[in-house]
Amino acid sequence: MHALYDLAVGPLAWLAFGVFIIGSVYRLLAMRALALRKDGAFVAYVSWPHAFKSLAHWFTPFGALGWRENPGVTIATFIFHICLFLVPLFLMGHIVLFDTFRGWSWPALPDGAADVLAIVVVVICAYFLWRRLSVPEVRFVTSAQDVLVVSLVGLTFLTGVLAYHRIGDNLVLTTLHILSGEAMLVAIPFTRLSHMLFGVFSRGYIASEFGSVRHAKDW
């Protein structure tokens, strides 16, 4: 187990970050090249001012029609995504690791706050899973991959929380936590989680069409 832990925290961590970063950059560049090659009659209308204006609405809770009409999902998804970035980036446990291995350090969230936010993420993942299985219009379009990606995020946070609280075998859970966190990073460029990479561009593009050609808002 110790060997696996060492592997996970050492070489695999490098690998995961490498695949995540290089994979993401590759996917973005490849998609850009494809757009320029095949979607010329649409790329031509891209207008950043319109894109930013629309994105500002869509990054505001209840700032767009779709958010207002789906209040439950809106609250859940905003909290979920904010914590998704906030907790791992500003977690004392993580910063300590960077400090130990690379000598990098930055301010951390108070442990208690991070803990609560992490638990919130686990709860929201459970809510997302529940929606997938029981809300008819969501279930109709759910495939195994959708269940998998939410579970992966949920598992990473859950094992992190359990490890922090020393519930269960700490070494096993920490190792499991690190492995699932790494799997999640690797999954971002190659699964539905790639919405993190492409989401702002797909919205920005359609906002440009609405703004510069159709003179109508898209939020």
Binding site: M31, R32, K38, G66, V138, R192, L197, F198, D218
Partner: protein, 439 residues
């Protein structure tokens, strides 16, 4: 859960089309289409859709049927995702199902873009499915007939070359009884604008040409209509997925305007035609903007009112409500001008809710009404949400500056017994305007 397979409707065009297919043939055409015409948009949309279902409430079909197989994302899952997952190698029956979803259960109204946080354009994905069905020869019979007509005579309704000027002259004659000096100027080179209409106007709604001529005459405008093909601005080929015919029609329309050396094209009160001319066909032809500027009637009437060229004797007294046609609102942002014109003409305007860019579609657009009687019930029952929206206004007059909307709304009004009647802006202006004295 029910799916499209549980509600198939017999259509001769679809049935004949699929009878000629094999899985190998479908696979070949599908692969060529994806490799040849699709790029980053389709790929991103399909991959990054998080299947959250937020778009469900956008779609009037879903809001009316409350059946999960009618949500925007469900339409994509039952068509494009299914085809992609199989690499295009599917049984012909699957193409029947895809065609029925794509042609008769989506109006390409773009309302769902206001709901999807990722900005996924379901209408575009559905257009790609239509393009595939067209290439496979699987199109509903009625709409295919209109596309054939575009191909043969460059208009939607099989209007023959000589019937067109005849009809205009007939309308001119009729109108001269009311306005003796009135002309419908044919083929006048260098006029300020060319007025173009959709083929159903000379075919069944000649009154609209009469009214337009009366309004332009009263306003003292320097205008013309072409005497040759190229006069029809409608474009059903755009909706069948026949981009080649679509662009021939549009090229003829623009080239006619160029031949007449007019300053711009003014288009009648039609939404889909505007979409074709303003937003879609120009791109297929490789023109980023328009070789001749185009304006929709709503904007044109607004200008005339601003310039004081339209004078009315009184305002329309009964309360009216406004239907915002997708193709000129989400398609061109004319919501404010439409309101200014309506308020200029009417005493009392009651807004429906939601309105402007968020308005529900009439469920006739996107070629759906043109798929004809077999699918009529689906689109009417599929828009009970619109009926509720209309009923809640409590008014009896509905202003809708779009031909398709008129068709769809009238069907809904009669089905749900709403006791309303629909009006074009042209109807109202003609009714209310100061008519020049007969000399």
């Amino acid at each position: 859960m029910s799916t499209i397979a549980d509600r198939l409707i017999e259509d001769e065009g679809l049935r004949r089309g699929v009878s000629r297919l094999t899985p190998e043939k479908i696979e070949k055409v599908f692969k060529e289409l994806i490799a040849g015409e699709c790029g980053a948009r389709l790929k991103t949309y399909v991959e990054s859709c998080v299947r959250c279902g937020m778009c469900a409430k956008a779609c009037h079909y879903y809001m009316s049927h409350k059946d999960p197989s009618y949500t925007p994302v469900a339409k994509v899952s039952q068509t494009m995702w299914r085809l992609l997952a199989a690499g295009g190698r599917v049984e012909p029956q699957v193409i029947y199902e895809c065609a029925q979803v794509a042609y008769t259960e989506c109006n390409l109204c773009r309302r769902c873009i206001h709901y999807c946080p990722l900005g996924i354009d379901t209408g575009y994905i559905i257009s790609v499915v239509r393009r595939l069905c067209h290439k496979l020869g699987v199109t509903p019979q009625y709409i295919q007939d209109t596309a054939h007509s575009h191909s043969a005579v460059l208009n939607q309704m099989w209007v023959k070359d000589d019937e067109w000027p005849d009809t205009l002259q007939w309308q001119e004659e009729e109108a001269r009884e009311e306005f003796p000096g009135l002309r419908i100027p044919l083929d006048v080179e260098g006029a300020d604008f060319m007025y173009s209409v959709i083929a159903p106007e000379p075919k069944f709604r000649t009154q609209l040409i009469y009214q337009a001529a009366a309004i332009f005459n009263a306003a003292g405008l320097n205008w013309t209509m072409p005497a040759t093909p190229g006069w029809d601005n409608s474009n059903m080929a755009m909706f069948t997925g026949d981009s080649e015919i679509m662009s021939r029609v549009e090229r003829a329309h623009y080239e006619t305007a160029q031949r007449l050396r007019v300053k711009r094209i003014v288009m009648g009160e039609c939404g889909h035609a505007f979409r074709a001319v303003y937003d879609v066909a120009n791109r297929w032809l490789g023109w980023k903007w328009h070789p001749v500027p185009v304006v929709h009637s709503v904007e044109f009437f607004w200008e005339l009112i601003q310039q004081g060229r339209i004078k009315i004797t009184h305002k329309y007294a009964d309360p009216v409500t406004i239907h915002d046609p997708c193709n000129i609102i989400r398609g061109r942002g004319l919501m404010d001008k439409l309101r200014e014109v309506t308020h200029f003409l009417c005493e009392n305007v009651v807004e429906m809710s939601p309105n402007r860019e968020h308005n529900y579609c009439c469920c006739a657009g996107g070629g759906v009404i043109n798929c004809g009687p077999p699918f009529k019930n689906v689109r009417i029952v599929g828009n009970s949400i619109k009926a509720e929206q209309l009923r809640a206004t409590g008014v009896h007059t509905l202003v809708a500056p779009c031909h398709n909307c008129h068709g769809g709304l009238e069907d809904i009004i009669s089905k749900f017994g709403l006791g309303m009647h629909t009006k074009f802006l042209g109807d109202l202006i003609y009714e209310l305007m100061e008519k020049p004295e007969a000399e």
